[in-house]
Amino acid sequence: MRKIVLLTIVAVTSAVIFSPLAFSARKTIIKIGINAPLTGDIPKVGECTKYAAMLWLEDIKRAGGLKVGNKNYEVELVIEDNESKAESAVKANTKMITQDDVLAIIGPQASKQAVPAGGVANKYKTVMISPWSTNPDTTLDRPFVFRGCFLDPFQGQVMANFITDEFGFTTAAVLYDVASDYPRGLAQVFKKIWEKKHGPDSIVAYESFTTKDTDFSSQLTKIVRSGAQVLFTPQYYNEVPLIVKQAKELGWKAPIAGSDSWGSPETVKLCGKDCYGLYFSSHYAAAGAKGATKTFIDRYKKAYDYIPDDVAALTWDALHLVQQAIQDTGKITGRIGKDRIAVRDALAQIKNFSGITGKMTFTQEGDPIKCAVIVKIDNKGEYGFYKSICP
């Protein structure tokens, strides 16, 4: 009897100890999680993320898998919809990390989801790159969270400097969504920098609304009355057309400027001629692109029939960063926890990565140092390169 018990204990213990080895002997698939807003307020952003990722996967498949060390690994994408909601983004990250065993996560795109979702990724020690989130909190004190774009403080400065230098304006108005991290953060930064440049009362109207509002008439009436020389509104493509249209109807004649959230092709599609001639800061300009950027744009356009926006380009770069980091580790052990840490360390080491949205080197915080582009919507509704502003 005693022998049987002993034997069982030995058998069970050895099974537990050796099973990871048994697992690693099986074929290891590298899984990359995509956390994107496929439905909800900004579905176009989700669509561009998904399409860029699919193009990337196509390349990997054509090459016969991802080569790490001297072994080819099959790659799989796990695409989760975060419905453009913070809580769903957190849920998606938790699921992908704990159930799907993804090696790294790309997304979420908007800061509203990226800030809370980054906390989850960091807690589970899994690399997350948000290609498009510009809010500083996304990566702050989170060694496992990176981003593919510049930050709001830089972007706010770029726009404040650009408007001052280009037009010589000294008073500005701001209209932003108080319930969303990205516009609120950027509006605050812009206000701070503008007031530093032009004095304490130079923001003559600082108005807000909440997500899903469609009527901005009282705010815009205030803004028109304030006599501001320019309106800065860091909003998404579903709000920009309404803001621009209503502002014009209420007698606003001065320029309206925005930020990288304007970059979706939908902005001009929904806004039409009202938006021609307006400026915004972005990560890249599609019209007049050259080299690898142009190759990507042409390929994307051929596959999906429209010009990719900055989200698609940044997602493309983020995936290549992850790819390089995985390859730099030199070896996949099959033990997901260990591999995730190895990928994180390799990613932090990458220097002068040459992406289609510019050169990137990560800072300590996991934020790349890169240039911003000022885009002017030309009179054909295309996003033309106007100026490049580097840190």
């Binding site: 609304f209 469609t214 008439s217 009282s218 009436t221 309404l242």
Partner: protein, 307 residues
Amino acid sequence: MELLQYILQNLINAAERGSFYAVISIGYSMVYGVLMLFNFAHGDIFMVGAYIGFGIATLFIGIFAGLLPAPLIFLATVVTTMFLVSWVGVFVEVAGYRPLRNAPRASAAITGLMIGIIFETGVLILLGATRLSFPPLMKSVTYHVGGIYITNVKAMIIIISLLLMVALHAFIQKTKWGMAMRAMSYDFLAVPLMGVSINTIAPLTFAMGAGLASVAGILYGQAYPILDPYMGVIIGWKAFVAAILGGRGSIKGAAFAGYLLGFIEIFVATIFPSTLRDLIAYSIILIILSFKPRGFFGMEHSTKLRL
């Protein structure tokens, strides 16, 4: 002088916003009057109305642009959309409310919520999540009169809303059907015994509410030309607030409260920082309700209140 212009400008803004609340909240009140239930799918019927209006408008502009004058295309769009969306209202009544008419109130109350979610996700699956841009049915012209900016579209929205409400009032006060509806809301037990069938009056009420909501949807598409499947949720809630504030079941009250809500929202944002708009606006409404718990035109006492 400048202040006066400022106030007038905001009055126009408020009248436009209030028009939407008023026309939509009437739908809530009408159904409540007859069935003692709020149709929580009403905000989503408004959304469906906007989408169907979008389809009809795109179709008609495609066929008749250049052939017919713009106002005629507009009228044709409105009439066709109203007709189609009325049937959506009838569908909601027949599929959602009729089977549960004798069920516990709570069950019947949530059918609307469920139908609303079905509409939202249905549109989402059918058309995808991409935003649609409502085509302009008339060329927007901005007039600058005495320091006030008004567009022809805004003026049209305000005028059409008022006309609709007057027409509805006349229908309810002057016609036999209207009289049946009023009788039903007076006593839904005795009136069917007099030969007025609830199975006729209830769908009629839903159809009229839905028709009104669909016109609101088209007008909304002219003022805020971006359609999304969840556009009816918030405006539906706010119109529901207006329906309660006006007095449950009172059409006059719903219209009045709809405009009042528009005015409060706009002027709160004008006077206070706009960040505090909804906080202050809805606190004001809470205070009004605590002084007038039955709303402005609610019946003083009603023995048949079941909800």
